[in-house]
């Protein structure tokens, strides 16, 4: 099915299931511990052996020698797979440095060996018996030092990523009110609960991976490229995923090493990355340096805006583009955005939840707060004053739908914004300084081709199969809701099977496109099934009504089960008309913090997000997505940082004790409100994703609240108390 024009009135406009809060159908499996995660799939292949990955002890250089004799002789050891014995594996999608093989070391904890043994403990114990000698090479580990020499990133079509409109420099120079500020965001770890894990087994030249991966079709083709085998010889199965956040978009070393170790031993091999490897062996969100220059008239109208961004990666490859939201959010005729990437020898940077925008909002939305203060304007009014009619960075392009002003106004009412004092440091509650902050949020609402197969049994039971993944987001449930709605059956008549590459390729889970795309794909397949039933029984399926397990025609009613067993497969594709529109999701984020006046301890008191994201397919799971993003954003604002050791070139705090993410006590109260909107340009369901909207903006709202509480502006994230302590009132004065 091609979606080639904005959706008109359709069955989802009178939906009984889609759009209603529905508990996740995988919930009982999760809460009873019976959802099988990759490492726990003891039953999928007999005689599984355990692999344990050894990471490089240096950040850059080469392996001089590796002595594995003692490890091979250790109790229970079946094999040692050692990098010097292998040519570097091929490059899969999303990888820069080879995931294994050869003597060159590209980053700390890059996989250099894998010990395979009868038990996990034996493999781990033997791994420490491997003696590796290195020739250490100097590396560049300091973004601030590398940034001045960084090149412009490759933008669309390989052109340097510098965009201008009008004459920024002249307009900025002439602006009566100006802001010129630099912000930095640190490297961050996905820190998902389930580390990367894979069981691999070969049958002849057929490889099966039971793994934890967000993008099954990418995983299949990447694995083929990495190992130099045919994609059709690779099967990937990933029905349950314990968090991904972008860290599991691509094949990583767990899958590669499990496959190579299984080949070497002739046995299925299972591997989970030990927690300390997750930070340095896998990907992370890149640190950024961002400069914002904004010029405005005294009435708040922005006349000039420039957003420049620097990040770094191995070989100067793809960086973190903090400018992405800036051409979308605020009006202004004279503009400049530029995205530079430096070459660094730290571990690989790559996508983490709202890549680009999550870091970008931490800069832009604080800059707007700073500008509002300079103008003597309320920061909400400043944003409303600069609400654009068309896409500011591309004025020929329309917004498919945009209700940011409604989000801001409704949020202000709900949050009690009128109680905020514009002058900072004015509100006390005992020993605590209290402040409020606001930020806007923008995240694109993309869609991707997505397929599904739908089977109806003799009993009228519907089964949907697609390689779409559920990374804790609720995909199982919204696809079931979509199928139930389209086929006119109750939810308990629908079974959804996900994450297996034997199913039709879907959009997968990434970039906030999964929900809208995969439900549209399921819808397309259901429509095909309806038409197939119509063809078989002689009626026009497009005018028939499917409801309550029956097909209602003008002159008769047929039980759905009478159509007998049938299967249909289809995918949704998206037509050219979309190019005329910017399809985005919007939010207004509010936060109240309290800062201990003596110690500077900052505690979030409450958060609110008012979201405009089209039809919300399942308000319950969508809310979970948004509050999860808000938690992550609060973490980014206040505590999360992969600390770089610039001598040894690695992320030092590589476990969950050192890399702090918010705990329950940090997030006492969150509210999410969804505007009742539908976006007909997005998909047949008029829905858009929310998985990344929730992390775009709340961190800046936290930062702005902290400033409002204390009067100290910190532009280097995370905003830990050491960065503003000296700016607080002296203890004697309190």
């Amino acid at each position: 099915m091609e979606f080639n024009a904005p959706a008109g009135t359709n069955l989802f406009d009178r939906a009984k299931i889609v759009g209603h809060s529905t508990p996740r159908i995988d919930g009982p499996l999760k809460t009873t511990g019976t959802a099988p995660y990759a490492y726990e799939r003891h039953d999928v292949a007999p005689d599984q052996a355990y692999g344990y990955i050894v990471g490089s002890a240096i950040a850059k250089g080469r392996i001089v020698s590796m002595d594995v004799a003692d490890a091979r002789a250790a109790p229970g050891v079946i094999a040692v797979v050692a990098a010097p014995d292998y040519a570097p594996v091929g490059q899969g999608q999303g990888n820069i440095a080879p995931l294994f093989g050869g003597g060159e070391i590209a980053h700390y904890h890059q996989a250099i060996a894998c010990v395979v043994a009868e038990t996990f403990e034996q493999a781990r114990a033997a791994s420490s018996l491997i003696r590796t000698r290195y020739d250490r090479a100097p590396g560049m580990f300091d973004l601030a030092e590398a940034a001045p020499g960084a090149s412009l990133a490759k933008g669309r079509g390989g052109k340097p990523d510098l965009k201008t409109l009008g004459n920024f420099e002249a307009a900025f120079a002439a602006a009566p009110v100006k802001l010129d500020a630099k912000y930095t965001t640190p490297d961050e770890s996905h820190a998902m609960m389930e580390p990367h894990a894979t069981i691999a087994a070969w049958k002849g030249d057929q490889l099966t991976l039971w793994t934890s991966n967000q993008m099954i079709d990418w995983a299949k083709s990447s694995m083929a490229e990495i190992l130099g085998i045919k994609p059709e010889n690779v099967r990937v199965d990933s029905p349950f995923i314990g968090g991904g956040f972008g860290g599991k978009l691509f094949i990583r070393s767990d899958a590669v090493m499990a496959a190579l170790a299984a080949k070497a031993t002739g046995r299925p091999v299972k591997i989970a990355l030990q927690r300390p490897l997750v930070a340095n062996n896998t990907t992370h969100r890149h640190a950024t340096i961002q400069r914002l220059r904004i010029g405005a008239e005294r009435d708040g109208r922005i006349t000039a805006i420039a957003h420049e961004n620097w990040s770094g990666n191995i070989g100067g490859e793809k960086g973190e583009d903090g400018t992405l939201q800036t051409p979308k959010l605020y009006a202004g005729a004279n503009r400049l955005t530029a995205n530079y990437v430096a070459a660094l020898d730290l571990p690989e940077g790559n996508a983490m939840r709202a890549p680009g925008e999550a870091a970008g909002h931490l800069a832009l939305e604080v800059a707007m707060d700073e500008l509002a203060e300079r103008l003597g304007m309320d920061p909400i009014e400043l944003r409303i004053r600069n609400e654009p009619e068309t896409v500011p960075g591309n004025p020929g392009k329309k917004f498919s739908q945009r209700n940011l002003v409604r989000c801001l106004r409704q949020g202000a009412d709900l949050f009690g914004w009128s109680h905020r004092r514009s002058k900072p440091g004015q509100v006390r509650d005992g020993r605590w300084l209290v402040g409020m902050g606001v930020a806007a949020g923008y995240r694109g609402g993309p869609v991707q081709k997505s397929g599904a197969r739908v089977h109806m049994g003799n009993d009228g039971q519907i089964t949907v199969e697609t390689d779409m993944t559920d990374i804790g987001t609720g995909s199982y449930t919204i696809i079931a809701q979509t199928a139930a709605e389209t086929m006119g059956v109750s939810l308990d008549r629908v079974t959804v099977k996900l994450g297996d590459s034997r199913f039709p390729a879907s959009a997968g889970s990434g970039g906030q496109w999964g929900a809208a795309s995969s439900t549209a794909g399921a819808y397309a397949a259901c429509v095909s099934l309806r038409r197939a039933i119509g063809a078989k029984l002689g009626f026009d399926a497009d005018t028939a009504t499917f409801a309550e397990g029956k097909i209602h025609l003008s002159n008769r009613t047929i039980a759905l089960s009478d159509a007998g067993p049938m299967t249909a497969e289809d995918s949704i594709t998206f037509g050219e008309f979309k190019r005329d529109y910017d399809v985005g999701t919007y939010a207004a984020h509010f936060c109240e913090v309290a800062v201990e006046a003596y110690t500077g301890e900052c505690r979030v008191r409450r958060m609110l997000a008012v979201c405009d994201a089209g039809r919300i397919l399942n308000p319950l799971s969508a809310r979970s997505q948004v509050i999860g993003g808000m938690v992550m954003a609060a973490g980014a604002a206040l505590m999360e940082e992969l600390a770089v050791d610039k001598r040894f070139g690695f992320f030092v705090n590589h476990d969950l004790a050192g890399y702090e993410v918010p705990v329950h006590a940090d997030i006492p109260h969150q509210e999410v409100v969804f505007l009742d909107t539908q976006d007909p340009v997005s998909s047949p369901l008029k829905a858009k994703g929310v998985g990344e909207l929730g992390i775009c903006g709340p961190g800046a709202a936290v930062a702005n609240a902290l400033y409002n509480a204390t009067g100290v502006r910190v532009r280097n994230y995370p905003i830990t108390l050491d960065k503003y302590l000296e700016g607080l009132p002296e203890p004697e004065a309190i």
Binding site: P276, Y598, F648, H664, A665, L725, E732
Partner: protein
């Protein structure tokens, strides 16, 4: 984890004798720290002597009017004890500020005293660390040292003692009772229990090899307001940037110990006379010899401010 042998001791004296006899042996109690360190091969004992069957899990009233806390009393049981809550509130508050409910259920009183530093260079076996591998150098001194010691450190080591409970025990003037092979016992004042790193950062405390903690004794109650204020980057389940354990009397006198700043709970009794002059007066004396790094110099003003907050809380 290296292979090791395991046995369960039947008496404190026997446990001490077994460990004293074997250089690679260690006691095992709750295991909340030791087992993690063994998995990472930071600790590599060849033999574990499990002391869980020893009858050391009671809190008894002591003849001196205080409490005698058995070495195996869990952190949860100690924090929840009515007598502790009533008379030694700083101890309850310190314990519940640490770790998580599950860990406190398993962790013991003696084990808590023996937890090892959380310095990230100690935890990464690829990195130099004089505490883990004497003579290999200190990775932290010129590295990432935000969490680490500002006072009492050496060129060899800037690790911090990470616990909370011991900081409270320090203001309460607790003593640590031990037994050695042959049954000889001794009482170690808490001030002398943990040591500074000096030239032997591998030694966290003054216990001899094979010396088993049997109890921690609290002197009779001293009254006053008991406060433990732990400052950290998140609200729970994190190690202290700085913590303050304080017992402050109505007349403004009191005792103050600091956590998160040194290789041991940090208390300078001679400075406490300055408490009535305020936080700055006391902390300028307590941290007079501080040698912070660029990363952690904020701990000194933070210590001053945290004590100021504690004083304000006693007045509230």
């Amino acid at each position: 984890m290296k292979s090791f042998t395991y046995e369960r001791a039947t008496s404190p004296e026997q446990a001490a004798a077994i460990v004293a006899d074997r250089p690679g042996a260690k006691f095992l109690a709750g295991g909340t720290n030791l087992l993690d360190l063994m998995k990472l091969e930071i600790e590599t004992p060849t033999h574990l002597v499990d002391v869980q069957d020893l009858n050391l899990a009671r809190i008894d009233e002591d003849t001196n009017g205080g409490l005698r806390i058995g070495a195996l009393v869990s952190n949860t049981a100690l924090a929840a004890d009515d007598r502790v809550r009533r008379d030694y509130g700083v101890l309850t508050r310190a314990i519940v500020a640490g770790a998580s409910g599950q860990l406190r259920n398993k962790a013991t009183t003696a084990g808590n005293l023996l937890q090892r530093t959380r310095c990230p260079y100690f935890y990464d076996t690829n990195m130099p660390c004089n505490k883990r591998r004497p003579g290999s150098g200190c990775g932290a001194l010129a590295g990432y040292s935000r969490q680490l010691a500002v006072v009492g450190s050496s060129e060899q080591c800037i690790a911090t003692y990470p616990g909370d409970m011991a900081v409270a025990l320090r203001v309460l003037d607790a003593t640590v009772e031990t037994v050695k092979a042959g049954g000889k016992t001794r009482s170690i004042p808490i001030a002398e229990f943990h040591r500074l790193p000096g030239d032997e950062p591998q030694r966290d405390n003054t216990l001899e090899h094979g010396e088993l903690i049997t109890a921690v004794v609290l002197p009779k109650p001293i009254g006053g307001r008991h406060i433990y204020h732990k400052v950290r980057d998140r609200a729970s389940y994190a190690f202290a940037l700085v913590s303050v354990a304080a017992v402050i009397q109505k007349d403004g006198s009191g005792r103050v110990a600091f956590g998160g700043v040194a290789h041991k709970p940090w208390r300078v009794e001679a400075a406490e006379a300055a408490l009535h002059q305020g936080s700055s007066a006391l902390t300028s004396r307590v941290f007079a010899d501080a040698r912070p790094t660029e990363d952690n110099k904020f701990k000194i003003p933070l210590a001053k401010r945290t004590l100021a907050s504690v004083i304000a809380q006693t007045r509230a």
